[in-house]
Symmetry: C3
Subunit: 395 residues, 3 copies
Amino acid sequence: MNGNVKEFHLVAEPVVREMAPGFKVNMWGYNGQSPGPTIEVVEGDRVRIFVTNRLPEHTTVHWHGQRLPNGMDGVGGITQPQIPPGKTFVYEFVARRPGTFMYHPHADEMTQMAMGMMGFWVTHPKARHPLIAEVQRDFCFLLGSFDVEPGSATPKVNTMTDFNTWAFNSRVFPGIDALNVRRGDRVRIRVGNLTMTNHPIHLHGHEFEVTGTDGGPVPRAARWPEVTTDVAVGQMRQVEFVADEEGDWALHCHKSHHTMGPMGHAVPTMIGVDHRGIAEKIQKLVPDYMVMGDKGMADMGAMEMPLPDNTMPMMTGSGPFGPAEMGGMFTLLKVRRDQRPGDYRDPGWFKHPAGTVAREVPGDSAPPATSPVTPAAGVPDASVRKPSGHGGHAH
Amino acid sequence: MNGNVKEFHLVAEPVVREMAPGFKVNMWGYNGQSPGPTIEVVEGDRVRIFVTNRLPEHTTVHWHGQRLPNGMDGVGGITQPQIPPGKTFVYEFVARRPGTFMYHPHADEMTQMAMGMMGFWVTHPKARHPLIAEVQRDFCFLLGSFDVEPGSATPKVNTMTDFNTWAFNSRVFPGIDALNVRRGDRVRIRVGNLTMTNHPIHLHGHEFEVTGTDGGPVPRAARWPEVTTDVAVGQMRQVEFVADEEGDWALHCHKSHHTMGPMGHAVPTMIGVDHRGIAEKIQKLVPDYMVMGDKGMADMGAMEMPLPDNTMPMMTGSGPFGPAEMGGMFTLLKVRRDQRPGDYRDPGWFKHPAGTVAREVPGDSAPPATSPVTPAAGVPDASVRKPSGHGGHAH
Amino acid sequence: MNGNVKEFHLVAEPVVREMAPGFKVNMWGYNGQSPGPTIEVVEGDRVRIFVTNRLPEHTTVHWHGQRLPNGMDGVGGITQPQIPPGKTFVYEFVARRPGTFMYHPHADEMTQMAMGMMGFWVTHPKARHPLIAEVQRDFCFLLGSFDVEPGSATPKVNTMTDFNTWAFNSRVFPGIDALNVRRGDRVRIRVGNLTMTNHPIHLHGHEFEVTGTDGGPVPRAARWPEVTTDVAVGQMRQVEFVADEEGDWALHCHKSHHTMGPMGHAVPTMIGVDHRGIAEKIQKLVPDYMVMGDKGMADMGAMEMPLPDNTMPMMTGSGPFGPAEMGGMFTLLKVRRDQRPGDYRDPGWFKHPAGTVAREVPGDSAPPATSPVTPAAGVPDASVRKPSGHGGHAH
């Protein structure tokens, strides 16, 4: 505090982020980290932010979603001069409305966001607000995408769509902590997207509502029940739910490539290719030759494949039942009933009650394939089905 | 039924799908088909599903959107062991809430969904539900994308964005049935997206509402009128409308490339190139040489171009008035008033009442180009227009 | 007017569009422009539209979102014969519902929209409508994307994702006019998307609501507060707000590449590469050799780099404080209180009240980096934060 004013200091600078254990990337961030520190204030606070530029090029900070004087909006060239390297600028405004915000450069924006420059901002309501619920847990993350060539450490900044590293808070699974909650907690997750594409964020085992955006709280009557909310670029979504199902529930982007590590995208398919007899011949010439992908990619989850230094595997991580075959934008919501109040440390893997895990049965006990499963209604395409009114199902 | 339990059996296995007449693709699916069979149950049903793995690699099944015990959630490695090839696992849970769901693997997910592994699940309400309407017609389809090289038959599984085959229920136009309804029917279309990008599903001639998602029914006050709903990856949308306009109405993804067959995307433009004199010279050397694309692509709708075996044309299909120049995610909603109740066979092409089809007129009867069309308001960009209050139009 | 009928004439034809000063592109459009003229009518008007085809290939016009006889829907081959080059067809229908619409071809659609064929349509309400507000300013623009190789002038029509020119009304910044309004005006912006991807349209300094779609007005209770609305392909969004903050506010697509000019997307990163000593050696061989990108891209905003003829720079435009480093889908909302009623000419740059612009301060006056900024909560990933109830902030 400086008198009535809450003061903050952001230093824009190069940082090294360990995106997952052993995988370090040269980023640009704030105060030694990417994303920068989360700024938390209360509605009505007067805020003064000093921004020092230790990058090799000029920058600015745009306070995304805020009501503020036009000259504090941070659009380089338009609303202010750029902040040259080595200089400090000061921004000052009142945090006029409560909610979920972010900050990021509006100067050489493509490059600076591709390098990881972004941060979260939460303005808490001053008083009880009819559309802002009390929650027991309040998480936030920013979605980022990077194009880091295997074996290198600095993102390619011109990439528009062909990214290979998809991050929550500039980290990738298995380098992302779980979200640990107690059963019955009301949970809020705040998400902002600064990539180049939509990310449909999907939660297992629960339904949620979007209760607010960077534009403000969503009226109750306007809320939809969802299990997947599509977060567009430059959008923020505040989702809420009561965590009433115990277990380890996946929380991830539903685009299958965004829960994977780096790979080539223009690769011929090997599925169904019969390598028998060929591999032996090739191995006479190339002793390390491996047959890969003819049966799918699942083997890669457990594979010890030689990789270039400082490179994430395509699939990695493991759970209590074996390799998780994931990467990128993936983590777990861990719901437990027996944690002590206030203890939100990682509880380890869920202990399933007896008989509640999918299990192997002898093959011949299975009913035949002509079982009562409804075939796709006889049509080879859009399944035409019977009216679905109550009691009207087909069995 | 086995006692109180509804039993189903899914066999995960390689299948051959004829995506359109003459175009067969090697997929992976369930019970001989891709998508797998649609599972229909009633709210409150206890369901037991045997899953036999006849794929060359391990798999699991995730019951997307369901409330269930954590160990039945199907996330390989995290909530259960993978199902090895040749083995059968059993899942069991109660279908606790009515709605629109899907199932798909959560094991080597990128590969297995790229190969077509997915299926629909509908849970009908047990009793009349205030937010679930009675409908006369209830259709469902899953959106899939494949990258099948012209002349080949197995999808490339590493492709992230550059797909060439966009499917409803693993079929492409003109291999997709029409949605046949009677005028006045209340129609529900359930759509789920398991591709790598958003699909804006557009219906001609009617407005609709999204009445539910995989998270549950949408409250009435929260529904928007739409003609195009954007279905994000991992989302399901249940749209409803009264089919009150007779005719053959297009229903398609509005991304123009998603209603096309395979083509190269990095092709120089030929529009406006003058080939005169050149073609003849080239044909002396290459007798089959054709001039293509200098006037646009419309000729390809009718063209008998030599294609590699097992390859879809770029544009295909035809209607009562000639080539439709379509492909991929495209079909028709056929609304008729004179069908007998319960007869939902394809009624053929719409017979337009006299004078209701756009028709040729002699060129000189047309008003001059300086007619009352409002020019784009004098500005070369964002058109600034007059207030649009009632009666306030510019003519 | 022709009797009771409002007549219009659209001529589909090649046009040259100056997308920004000095950058001319060979497009296809209507009546000499792309987008074509905006058609404005009043609810209940009977409309007759003559369409003359002066393109080298056939075309049709689809009246996106309209209720009309099936034969007037404009789907070539399906609902009408294609309009051959040189011919005129006539469409006739009643504009049955008020709202925001567009028109575009439904014939060789991919090519014709890639060439710029599209137009806006507004149907004003006949009488005061409870969900359609009176506004003082009503803007409209269509989103288009083009792939114009540097040095060329005709778009590549097969491109699916790798576009390089992102346009509002077929213009790119700095070739786009500002949206000029008076403080206190209620402003409506109507946007339609005919590209191949979602465009999240972001406004600075204000919150807005989506008040209507091409499906009709959005009920009040269903509206969300937003600062960024995601406009999917084939969707139209009508956003409204009261312009109550003076200044020059950015209005743009939030995808960072969509506010840039053409560039290569598969470029190695130069950030952090030390060229010292190398540049001199290369310049002995290649006198024009420049070191670029080792410090980021910001220099390019001011750079006079030799470009091929008829090529947009990657970053361009300038504001009162220097280069804006923008391009593509970017413009400004200029809010002024002192304009005379009805005077909506561009007011020039905003004159900021004293002390309201971010300003340089001596570096040593800044608090140290260990200031009260909340670090990202100690976890390297999803930030776990304290309850956010009123008064519950961490400071």
